[in-house]
Amino acid sequence: MAKYFFSLLISIFCCGLVTAQEKIYQTFKDTRVINSHSVETLPKRKLDFRVSHRFGDLAGDNGGYKTFFGLENASDILIGVDYGVTNHLTVGLHRTKGAGSMPDGNSGLRQLLNGLVKLRFLQQTSDNKVPVSMTLVGIASLSTAEKIEDNPDIIRSFPKFAHRMATHAELLLARKFSDAFSLQLMPGFTQRNLVPFEDENGIFSLGLATRVQLTKVMALIADVTFPFSERRVSANGFYTPLGFGLEFDTGGHVFQINLTNATGLMETDYIPYTTTNWGDGEFRLGFTISRLFNL
């Protein structure tokens, strides 16, 4: 075991020297799967303008025809840009509305400014000497919402400035098994600086994402994230964020349409705050438009 671990470490630290083998590209086509990040980083000097949207519940109590299957509601909206500083380092800045809430209705952070740093430090090679690609992701979310005074029971009371923040870090390990199939594991840790009474600040999680290429342009994608927390079980009103989608890559544009029970778009939002259940019809339509620019 120690031998394998040592080999892995050597591979990681020598990744810059891995040039002789042919690298595997496009394990995923986009830098996001559905809710989660993919192992991909942007090429150097590419700017990715992104718009993501999550509508309201498609069915259930808040869905159906009365909200035109959720299309008249917006759970969360993301507008932002990512930029490839190098081929292996991407930074990003996004604005999201924020959508998560506790089962009792106490809302999570709202009106978020999200910073992103993504570093790919290992890339899979065709000869399998490097069997997986690895990327580190760091996300910091800052709520710019107005402070609500005199109500210390809610998150938006923000006793300190730091309480406006939540952060998330994760390691992405992905392998492209064939031209048609990729799989990704995502161990992560989410830290919220202010949580409701008896909730926990730090949550470990493990995600799984996959991509099945159907045609040159279209692929089926899915991801799921399991929070490791005794509180985050369905008995307490929390559910596992799970999404399925179709992705269209037309060369320069990536368009994605998906169905997910997560309301929030950022990891700091949907990992701790998914309280909507597929079984109750509380899933929604979502889409992402990504457009690359040369800078």
Partner: protein
Amino acid sequence: MKAVIFTFTTLTFCMLMAWRWPAAEMPSSKPQAVVDWVLSKDKAVDDVLMRLGDNPLPHPVDTSMRWVSARAGEELVKFGFGRGPGGFKTSRQSKHFVCTSCHNLEKEDPDLSISDPQARLLYAKENDLPFLQGTTLYGAVNRTQFYNGDYRKKYGDLVNVAQDNIREAIQLCAEECAQGRRLRDWEVESILAYFWELGLKMEDLAFSDREWEDIENALAGNGDAEGVARLIKRKYLAGSPATFVTPPEDRKVGYALEGNVENGKLIYELSCLHCHENGRYAFYRLDDSKFSFKHLDRHFSRYTRYSVYQVARYGTSPLNGKRAYMPNYTLEKMSNQQMEDLRAYVKEMRK
């Protein structure tokens, strides 16, 4: 102590500046004694022509201009930026392309007196070169005509100033072909200085023993110097011919020629993948997966932007926000037969 640190810092700074400062590296213009000069295969064609009394080429480098450097020109051609005042990098000339996206820097034709795409493809394979839309920049200074033939259809009046002026041709390429900024004067001169280093050599031209003897005699003053100069010029093209052609009338039938799969493989690898592999210059990616071949095959006969007939013969247009377009292939850069070879390869690989 402070004085030591100050002195050390100043000296280090000066050394760094000196190191970064681009030295003007021009071809030597020192007059050489005729007696020392002997005709050999490595002699520059331009040099030989001058010695035969031919007129000098109309684009000598202006060495009086500051910052001009063949090395800066080489960096501009290969990487899209040069080193200007102070030795610091200039802004990138184009966000989308560099010269080598579309032009080789090596000899790319076995016989420089004709433009034969099939001979060029095989030569490219033998010499590990890409097979590109643009004419090689090797020997560019020996040419006197630019943006020839049907390029007028594409660039209109912009060709007027560029067709017999290499500096304007470079600018047209920079602004229109590469969709980048206009080059500064010293940058154009630097590129030109680099091009002079890529001038044709006598070994690049195919001479018979008899012809070589005639050249030697003429240089020794024993022959028809003017006639020999004409002979040398017949061995290479003064400009690249360019014939724009349309896709086949019936795209399902194609050009009604039988494709050669092996040849198509060469075109796919040396041409298509040069730009489309891992998004090197194009947003639309291609690889050796079945998905790529199926997609190309399905669209070959259609009227879409994924149709190879469409994009190879018409190219695509640079649009706002998406200026990385695809230049078209003229008939001299890809024959109709080669288009069918490519189609045959794509069809074979999708199985």
